[in-house]
Amino acid sequence: MTHPHLDPAPDDPLRDVWASAPPPRPSGTAWRKVQDGIAAELRSVRRARTTRRWAVAGLASGLAAGIVIAMLMWPRPAPTPPAVEVASDPLAEYDVLPIATESDVMVSAVRSDGIELVACDHPLPGVMPLATADEISFARVEAGGMSVPARTDAPVFVEGLDK
């Protein structure tokens, strides 16, 4: 070993100085006092650790119990009622017959002696498709009215029996 900082030579003068002036030896009483102090402190540390361990265990148990209670007490959502089936619209396959509203209609009435004249514009301009005679067949004609075959629930306008 050639490191310059390595161990000093065996005849290092500091060794002699150190060896000739060791620290004073404590008395037996002083040693006992230190040993008793160590034992007392270790007992205190062990007691504190035991207390802390129980405290942690208690805290954990309390927390677990709290979670269980909270889960039991937590308000549950009301059961959803079974879905009610809505009857299908029987007219869904037909175009809805347009109907004029109040704002679509301008009615002018002229009243005079014995005369009552009502004039208005067509509220819904355009062609209104209606069933033709070819599209209608009568099953039975009675004096009080007529019966249309139940082929459809769509509304039917009838102009007159003579047609």
Binding site: H3, H5, L14, V17, A21, W31, V34
Partner: protein, 194 residues
């Protein structure tokens, strides 16, 4: 690393420490008797008086045993104990210096060295005076050098054990020891026979 035991069949330090942690008072007695002298020597050299050194030994033993988790049993219990005792001594020394400086009122500083050399000793210098000279010389060293030197000279730790205890490189240990020796030879020149 072999555990120091005084007798062939004596329990190892690790066994004793385990038993002490379970509250075995007799194990504490054996462990304490085995290491008290070396712990005291280190503490005394770092503090310069017996009462403080014994306090540091007590704190050191308690902390070394209760904080074994940090020690991890990577080195010997003695190395771990001396590390803790060193820290306890340095802490105690700082507290003492603060108190001394508060109450000193301009008196001589704690173990201070006025110039680069200690006072010339009397012709018949007794052991106590030489011890005081050593204390003053050690106090004049920078703390890292002082700690390293004391762990080696009084604690009997090897370079590697000092490196482990202080958490420094082996080269740093060598360099600190070298400069500490140089400085101490100068400060104790009156007592050192070349």
């Amino acid at each position: 690393m072999p555990r120091p035991t005084s007798q062939p069949n004596a329990p190892s330090d690790d066994d004793l420490v385990t038993r002490v942690n379970r509250g075995d008072r007799s194990a504490l007695d054996v462990l304490f008797r085995r290491h008290r002298e070396v712990a005291y020597r280190v503490a005394y050299r770092l503090l310069g008086n017996e009462a403080d050194a014994l306090d540091a030994v007590q704190d050191g033993f308690v902390n070394a045993i209760t904080h074994l988790g940090r020690y991890g049993r990577k080195s010997s219990f003695k190395t771990w104990l001396l590390r803790v005792v060193t820290n306890a001594s340095l802490d105690l020394g700082r507290v003492r210096r603060r108190l001394d400086s508060r109450f000193a009122d301009g008196h001589e500083p704690y173990l201070g060295v006025a110039d680069g050399r200690l006072p010339v000793p009397e012709a018949n210098l007794d052991r106590a005076d030489l011890r005081r000279s050593i204390d003053r010389a050690l106090a004049a060293l920078p703390e890292p050098q002082r700690t390293t030197f004391v762990l080696h000279a009084d604690g009997g730790l090897s370079y590697q054990e000092i490196a482990d205890a202080l958490g420094i490189a082996l080269g740093t240990v060598m360099s600190r020891l070298y400069y500490a020796r140089q400085r101490l030879k100068g400060l104790l020149a009156h007592h050192v026979t070349p």
